[in-house]
């Protein structure tokens, strides 16, 4: 049986996938975690955005996937921004105006496609960079939100923030 595995710490697929990740270059991101067969799939970008790596967050009522209790299960590809924002709010985030670094806060950027359907989320790091779980693949650190914009993730359009005393200074080492 064919095993679908990628080598550990191999983000080359991102660079190769110009169709979906046209903005990615070797200089604007780094691989941040190992890509192992099982850990790839047990969490996704939405869970990672709220700081979890043992749940797969999606508004789908189906065994194996998680969505905060009381929030709507939505039809595939017709998920709504409002529902995702409520999910983030359940973890203490609140809507804010933009992605700019604010001392004492960590932020989430919600990416949507041209139909306003959520496709991805990234979380700011204490040093001002961003972290993203890329599909079934690795976590990466990227200096800008634009670095992963495109057909794969959509565009960063909605922003939320919550208190995090560790976020003290923007460094942006990779930008």
């Amino acid at each position: 049986m064919t095993l679908f595995r990628r080598p550990k710490r191999d983000c080359n697929w991102l660079l190769a996938d110009k169709e979906n990740y046209g903005n990615i270059t070797p200089g604007n991101f780094i691989c941040a975690s190992d890509s192992t067969e099982f850990s790839d799939i047990k969490y996704n970008c939405i869970a990672w955005a709220v700081g979890k790596n043992d749940e797969f967050w999606w508004p789908r009522k189906l065994g194996g996937y998680f969505w905060p209790e009381g929030l709507l299960s939505e039809p595939l590809n017709r998920e709504t921004v409002e529902n995702f924002i409520k999910a983030f709010e359940s973890e203490g985030f609140q809507k804010c105006d933009g992605p700019e670094f604010e001392e004492g806060f960590e932020k989430i950027a919600l990416y949507v496609n041209h139909l306003e359907v959520p496709k991805h989320a990234a979380r700011s790091l204490p040093n001002g960079n961003w972290t993203s779980k890329m599909g079934d693949g690795e976590d990466i650190t990227h200096g800008t939100l634009e670095a992963i914009e495109g057909r794969g993730c959509g565009k960063a359009k909605y922003f939320l923030k919550r208190n995090n005393p560790e976020c003290k200074k923007a460094i942006h080492p990779k930008t």
Binding site: G64, L76, G135
Partner: protein, 236 residues
Amino acid sequence: MMVKQINRLAGNYATQPSRMVSGGIRYAQIVPQAAVNIPKPSIIKIEKEFPFDSEIYAPSTGSYARMKKLDYSSFKLASTYLFLAHNYSQLAYKPTTFTEPVEDVQRQWAGYSASYASQYFPFLRNSNVAKSIAKICPEVATESLAERFEELKEKWQKETSFHSSLGEKFTNDSYISIIGMGVFALPFILNDLVENPAHWFYALEKIVGRDMAEGAKNYAEARLKWLSWGREHDIV
């Protein structure tokens, strides 16, 4: 035996005598025009209007069925024949045009595939699906379907593994085609789940008609529940 079954089940649908193709595997051939000869709704009890146009295409013969707002009965009948044609004649059907939510189509396809297959083929109600299929038609069961499953699976993973969105993963063409294989896909999916973690829960739920991992909050828990169910039914 397989050809006789198809002839009997197809009823008015004309079939040609079996023929030999490369590899010496025996196939039944559904005549293209027969495959699109959908019974007129007037002779079938209309249960509910089918709410959208759809088109099913078998590229190996050029046969296709185009259904424009048929009633459910007609759709079920057409689906059944195309399902049989696919699984027993190796015609690769492919749902190609959906003007309504794909999820609804998936549910219909999976449900009809499973219920009709078990209705017409009692062996599918038995516990070990894979062995039963192999007993009746070893070529189809062990090689062709396995190859088709692997091909679709790899294409699906290649096209969606970079997405976090379950919408993107579950509405992918190849994933839909795997669901369309119905109960025949179960042994392949479940055995794949043993070896490789992948997002099979949606396909399993659509094919089986129930979420056997209901309530599982994470991937590992759901995987164990589905594999336990598969072992209980001797599919894994």
